[in-house]
């Protein structure tokens, strides 16, 4: 696992999955990385853009970037 330096520790591939599955996957896998490490979530569902950001606020995690269906989320808590 790579992580403290900001590189991606795990990749979750949710391409083709509809809401709310990508966010559920994020909730399920976030604890697999240490605090400070980054999860990469791939999701092409149109709702993911809004809902991943909303999940990060609700769970006090950091949305590092969101581009072209690739979301980088840093675990803060």
């Amino acid at each position: 696992m790579i992580g403290q330096d900001g590189r991606v520790a795990i990749v979750i591939d949710c391409v083709g999955q509809l809401c709310p599955l990508p966010v559920i996957a994020l909730g399920r896998h976030i604890e697999r990385v240490a605090v400070g490490e980054v999860v990469e979530l791939r999701a092409d569902d149109p709702a993911a853009k809004v809902d991943v950001a909303a999940w990060c606020r609700m769970r006090s995690q950091e949305l590092v970037s969101a581009e072209d269906g690739t979301f980088l989320i840093r675990r803060l808590v």
């Binding site: 509809l18 809401c19 709310p20 966010v23 559920i24 909730g27 399920r28 569902d45 149109p46 709702a47 853009k49 809004v50 809902d51 950001a53 909303a54 999940w55 609700m58």
Partner: protein, 394 residues
């Protein structure tokens, strides 16, 4: 003569008559398409009846029945103009709310093509306004904050230079957020940009007299009328009528005006009740774990009887279906409930969670018992869906 049948104990227009309450128990999708106001249904039926004096006749005809229809159409326009505080000759009553929305934007942009091609809207306008902005020119959708209020600084910057017209709604039909139209109109006045105001969900819920705006639009279905669009072009506004704009049939005009007058009268008693029940629902739903209640927490910033809430890790289609089985009809802004499989553009613009979304809108038939029953049903439905998905504790 035998005595007449049992007398109606309540006038048809009484808010929440027992029969209406019974027939519409659990129906919380008023803005999606509510039933006709009983008085509007009556007016519509009488209007099309061959025995009536000619409400159905062509109001442009020169014969007696035509003249009668003309007088009724004039009366309908006067009644609607009176509620809105505008002049009757400024009012057109056309086919649908969406026709009025499109016509308002396209007509203003056409008259202002020398000024520029930009059409500035809020990002939370209804689809017909957003589509018309793109059709009429270069559409610019200005952001809203997380409560749905327009970013006035961004709006001010957007309307400067090369703008044909702007369009901002009064009250959002999904989340109930009310825009600061006095401020919006002041910005437009300063920039000399004509403004379309879509009354949207406001009529029957909030005062709609003397609303600012150069062109006003409204949808009669919002207040229990039949499909009809109100288009008000204020005197002195440069506006080019797009070809093919036609008037609604006279019985429809009469029914829409009758319903608006009734809804406006009933608002005095209905709106405070809806307001209280909206607070009850907002507080109750917020107590369900991992819930986002959308819109302005301050009741002054939103309309009574409209509410949207989203539940984390929940499938919106599943939630709507379970509530339906339980006897509750609610709408949803979740992607899985839309034909395009896209989430509500209103929730997206506000940055509000879109999954597990329900939209509640109350009508004249809604009772407190109904609201409490809905509230009691949502929590267990959400919990059951989460348990089945195995997301407890995530």
């Amino acid at each position: 003569m035998p005595p007449a049948g049992p007398a109606e104990t309540r006038a048809p227009g009484t808010p929440g008559s027992a029969a209406e309450q019974d027939g519409l128990r659990g129906f919380f999708d008023a803005v999606g398409g509510g039933p006709l106001h009983p008085l509007a249904a009556q007016a519509l039926q009488v209007g099309y009846d061959a025995g009536s004096t000619g409400v159905w006749a062509d109001p442009r005809a020169l014969h007696g029945r035509g003249r009668h229809a003309r007088r009724l159409a004039d009366g309908a326009r006067e009644a609607i103009a009176g509620v809105l505080g505008v002049r009757p000759d400024e009012v057109r009553l056309t086919g649908s709310g969406d026709v009025a929305r499109r016509t308002a934007v396209v007509g203003l942009a056409a008259a202002r093509h020398r000024a520029g091609s930009r059409v500035v809207t809020s990002a939370v306008e209804q689809a017909a306004v957003l589509d018309a902005a793109g059709e009429a020119g270069q559409a610019v959708a200005v952001a809203v904050d997380e409560r749905g209020h327009l970013d006035l600084d961004a709006f001010t910057a957007a309307v400067l230079g090369g703008t044909a017209c702007a369009a901002v709604q009064h009250t959002n039909r999904e989340v109930g957020t009310v825009q600061d139209l006095a401020a919006v109109a002041a910005v437009c006045g300063e920039a000399r940009v004509p403004l379309v105001v879509d009354l949207a969900a406001a009529p029957g819920r909030l005062p709609v007299r003397d609303v600012p705006g150069d062109v006003l639009v409204a949808d009669a279905r919002t207040w229990g009328g039949p499909a009809l669009g109100v288009l008000v072009v204020r005197t002195g506004t440069r506006w080019t009528e797009p070809p093919g704009l036609s008037d609604a049939p006279v019985p429809v005009q009469v029914a829409a005006a009758t319903a608006l007058a009734a809804a406006e009268q009933e608002r005095a008693t209905a709106a405070p009740r809806w307001q209280a029940w909206t607070e009850l629902l907002r507080d109750g739903l917020a107590a369900v774990p991992d819930t986002v209640v959308a819109g302005d927490p301050d009741p002054a910033g939103r309309a009574p009887g409209l509410l949207a809430a989203s539940f984390l890790y929940v499938d919106g289609e599943d939630l709507v279906g379970r509530l339906d089985v339980g006897g509750f009809a609610v709408a949803s802004g979740s992607a899985c409930t839309s034909e395009e499989r896209a989430p509500s553009h209103v929730l997206a613009a506000m940055g509000v969670l879109t999954q597990g979304n329900v939209r509640v809108s109350m009508g004249r038939w809604t009772t407190e018992a109904d609201v409490r029953a809905l509230l009691a049903a949502v929590g267990p439905a959400v919990a059951a869906i989460r348990e089945r998905a195995g997301v407890a504790g995530l």
